[in-house]
């Protein structure tokens, strides 16, 4: 340690009596491709093993190696897992961003940094812990080629000492992370210990941030939304999957491949009870899904905004010709290529009406990894019940980040395969027509190629109730009206919203997907800090259900919270609710590519409610990413 460092720490010592236990955020700034993911996952898991609620968010560039990446871990005794705007504890490993990373911290934050960077010279209102990583890594890892990968594990050891994480938990997390690679485990364990020993010998704790054991994570797992959705698909009995790689949805299909290879190979024959095809593009992906669903398979694809744009024509075909399809849209920032590795909820309007002509699609919106698992299953049932595409609207934050969850429950419902024509139904209904609405719910009976039942010709061109080509005006109108009727029927079957009415609350908040986590925390802030009571309506599907209007009616003002610029959900609501109700609707928008945080919601609601809100300069972690992140 240089004398300057000591001087800074002495200055800080005066304010170190404050203790912040299990309620802060850690940010690790590294260069991507440097093996930091292992170190970050070990840190995350070790905190979970301490029994403390934790979440991790990766902020990474659209690049494979060499550009800045930030990993943020939030420790929260109150189970807040949304993004926290402020960084409390920084690990500065990336020389390119270190300066700005340090300059944007709030006073009182702590910084572990690579000592040659001399970050301590930048500010005197932070606690600095300089670590000579290159010096420490040499004896631990004699093989110079591997040092770059092991180096990061040293900061885990430093943090274990400084924050009070049990080293045994770190070692357990490391073993889980690296599995059977014994040599790698040994090497990384040594690095961990070297970091710990260095901190023990050289640092006096000066910052207030502490992790203390709790008992809040028993039985919890850490999982990404994409993996959870994949498990849901597998349990739903998916048999045909077609996909095209695109961030942030690729890991959904990739984890599905892993799970299916493990659990869906026929024991007797060694053959697969599924087919997964990496298609030539998203158009072909959806074409394959439609063909497979038409032939009776449970079929799905996963994509992101650019893929959704390409799927427009086929989506219209599936809507009009009435074939099931399950499409996961793991949303990222658009338009165009946009910010491929950042999160948004910007596809809502596009998906709702995807395709030319009058088209309306069913969307379902999971907010948690549990819901990714459950609603994935629901999506397949709905797709076959309504013989139409079901879009599962996820986002990058949900899909690619690690979230705590209770273990998933084994499904207890049989599959709903929808209205398939049988001999019995045929006898009961007399004459069958593929698009004949015999039950009055807009849903008709279909047959499957090879099932021996009457054949029909499927087409995207105009057709009558028998499926025959028709350009007759009355045939067209009858068919379109029936499709509208089917969409009305769907209102009764799509996942219901989760509504919390607070007695005396004049304000209602509406949100969906990952906004949920910021909204929940924001409601606590509004209540605790300014005594503003709010009710909450968490949307889980489109078409809207009757509860929406009731919720609007029960409140004076409604804030629709969403992660896009154009208030897409609010616009969609306006199409359905009366003018009088529309006047109650206000917007809280967040669209900078980072996951929405509670403080932003709170400040915006209060500002619109007429409160004086101290406008802080937005000091956002990773603010420099846009400048440095290239193509």
């Amino acid at each position: 340690m240089s004398p300057t460092d000591l001087a800074v720490q002495e200055q800080q010592a005066a304010s170190s009596s404050r203790r912040v236990v299990n309620d802060f955020s850690i940010q690790v700034a590294t260069v991507n491709g440097s093996g930091s993911q292992t170190a970050n996952m070990v840190l995350l898991r070790s905190i979970l093993l301490m029994g403390v609620p934790v979440s991790g968010k990766n902020m990474f560039p659209s690049n494979i190696a060499g550009l800045p990446t930030w990993y943020t871990i939030r420790v929260s005794k109150r189970h807040y897992v949304g993004r926290k705007k402020e960084v409390d504890f920084l690990v500065a490993m990336n020389p390119e961003t270190a300066r700005e990373d340090v300059l944007t911290l709030d006073p009182g934050a702590a910084v572990v940094y690579d000592s040659p960077l001399k970050l301590n010279l930048l500010r005197n209102d932070l606690t600095f812990y300089p670590v000579p990583f290159d010096v420490l890594v040499k004896p631990v890892c004699p093989d110079a080629k591997l040092r770059r990968l092991v180096r990061n594990m040293i900061y885990d050891g430093i943090l274990a000492k400084l924050l009070g994480i049990d080293l045994a938990h770190m070692e357990a997390a490391l073993a889980k992370q690296l599995g059977k690679k014994a040599k790698a485990v040994a090497l990384n364990t040594d690095a961990l210990k070297a970091g710990f020993a260095y901190a023990e010998a050289n640092f006096t704790k000066q910052d207030p941030f502490i992790i203390e054991p709790m008992n809040e994570t028993a039985g919890k797992i850490l999982i990404e939304g994409n993996a959870a959705a994949a498990i849901g698909c597998m349990m739903a009995g998916v048999t045909v999957v077609a996909w095209y790689p695109i961030t942030p949805s690729s890991s959904l299909c990739e984890s599905l491949i892993t799970y299916m290879k493990k659990y869906r190979i026929d024991k007797a024959t060694g053959k697969a009870t599924f087919a997964i095809v990496q298609a030539e593009d998203e158009i072909a992906s959806l074409g394959m899904v439609i063909g497979a669903s038409w032939a009776g398979a449970r079929s799905m694809t996963a994509t992101a905004g650019p893929g959704i744009s390409l799927m427009g024509e086929f989506s219209g075909l599936a809507y009009y010709a009435e074939t099931p399809a399950v499409i996961f849209d793991v949303q990222r920032v658009g338009p165009s290529t946009g910010l491929p590795t950042r999160t948004a909820q910007g596809d809502l309007l596009q998906v709702a009406f995807l395709s030319h002509g009058d088209t309306k699609h069913i969307m379902i919106m999971p907010a948690s990894v549990e819901e990714c698992y459950l609603l994935a299953q629901e999506a397949f049932d709905l797709a076959e019940q309504f013989q139409t595409p079901i879009f599962v609207m996820m986002d990058l934050d949900l899909g690619m980040n690690n979230w705590m969850a209770d273990g998933f429950k084994y499904p207890d419902k049989p599959l709903n395969r929808g209205k398939l024509l049988t001999d019995e139904t045929l006898k009961a209904i007399g004459e069958w027509g593929r698009y004949k609405d015999v039950d009055g719910d807009g849903i008709t009976y279909r047959t499957i190629p090879g099932d021996g039942m009457p054949a029909y010709f499927t087409r995207g061109s105009g057709h009558n109730s028998k499926g025959q080509y028709s350009e007759r005006p009355d045939d067209y109108v009858e068919n379109m009206d029936r499709l509208a009727r089917k969409f009305e029927t769907a209102r009764q079957f799509v996942p219901k919203p989760v509504v919390e009415i607070v007695p005396g609350a004049r304000i209602g908040l509406i949100g969906y997907g990952t906004s949920h986590w910021a909204i929940g925390e924001s409601r606590d802030q509004l209540r605790d800090e300014t005594d503003v009571k709010t009710s909450y309506f968490r949307l889980r599907a489109y078409p809207f259900t009757g509860e929406l209007v009731a919720f609007i009616d029960a409140h004076e003002r409604i804030y629709v919270v969403e992660q896009n610029r154009d208030a897409q959900l609010l616009q969609l609501m306006k199409l359905e609710v009366s003018q009088e109700r529309q006047t109650k609707l206000r917007s809280v928008l967040h669209y900078n590519g980072l996951p929405i945080d509670a403080r932003s919601v709170t400040d915006e609601v209060l500002a619109q409610e007429g409160f004086e809100v101290a406008k802080k300069t937005v000091r956002t972690a990773g603010a420099s990413a846009g400048v440095l992140g290239g193509e």
Partner: protein
Amino acid sequence: MPTPLKVNRIGLEPQVYKGGKTTLCAGCGHNAISERIIDAFYEMGIDPRQVIKLSGIGCSSKSPAYFLGGSHGFNAVHGRMPSVGTGALLANKKLVAIGISGDGDTGAIGIGQFVHLMRRNLPIIYIIEDNGCYGLTKGQFSPTADLGSRLKTGVVNDLPPIDTCALAVELGATFVARSFSGDKKQLLSLLKAALSHRGTVMLDVISPCVTFNDHEGSTKSYAYVKEHDDPVEEVSFVPFFEDISVDYEPGSSQEVTMHDGSKLYLKKLEEQYDPTDKINALRRLHETARRGEFATGLIYIEPDRDDFLTQLNVVDEPLATLPLDRIRPGRGLR
């Protein structure tokens, strides 16, 4: 005693193989192709209930409505039929798939999906009803229109054509043939052989457009094709369930055994032509094209390569109808 009805080997009458009344122009080559498809499926005794007919958009793509009325059909979006067919066959590998496309549907908007279909060796019979023009939008050039060919309006095509057969051979299709809608015998033999092939069959059938492209100056007119047809062999096909011997002289014929035991006999018009030799096939296609001719017949065959479904190692039963206990893992996963 009533006259016994004519039936095929699975007891079905010819009537069962017919489709709806055609709405294409009188004399359209596509109608002749539909007729040959009906004949081939009848003669091979394929159950129409196990057949799927697929198509894209265009005049050609309307034609699945005009054959095999008892089969499920899917008229998909323009140029994207291959993906729909792929999905359907993944769902049910027992289905017999026939896809009808056109030269615009394949060579222009659908070239991407065509390329990947050929690569995958999906077991489908993919027919291009090739007239070198867009009929349904009134006669514009398609990508197979020959260099220098002329529209009725006098516009000359300045771009070289895509040879779909050469492309298919190059990309990995395992059965590549070209025929002419007016050549009943050759087309029927090729279609019957196609039904015995396990893998992608790419059959380019020159099919003159009587309305927009059957005039002097068009290389896809009846007159031009009749004059410039260069058969690489005479094709005869004997299904596995027949045991008729074919009177080909040894030395001038080649026999190809299909995966189901059927035999394809090729009477060589030229000694050096070997349809199992990829380079030879490509050379032949380029040489005939240079002379302004069409090589017809079986151009390339690779009867033994695994098809896409075999490569994917899927179970023997259709995936679509597997029972719940085979598609949902049991409790206690770890």
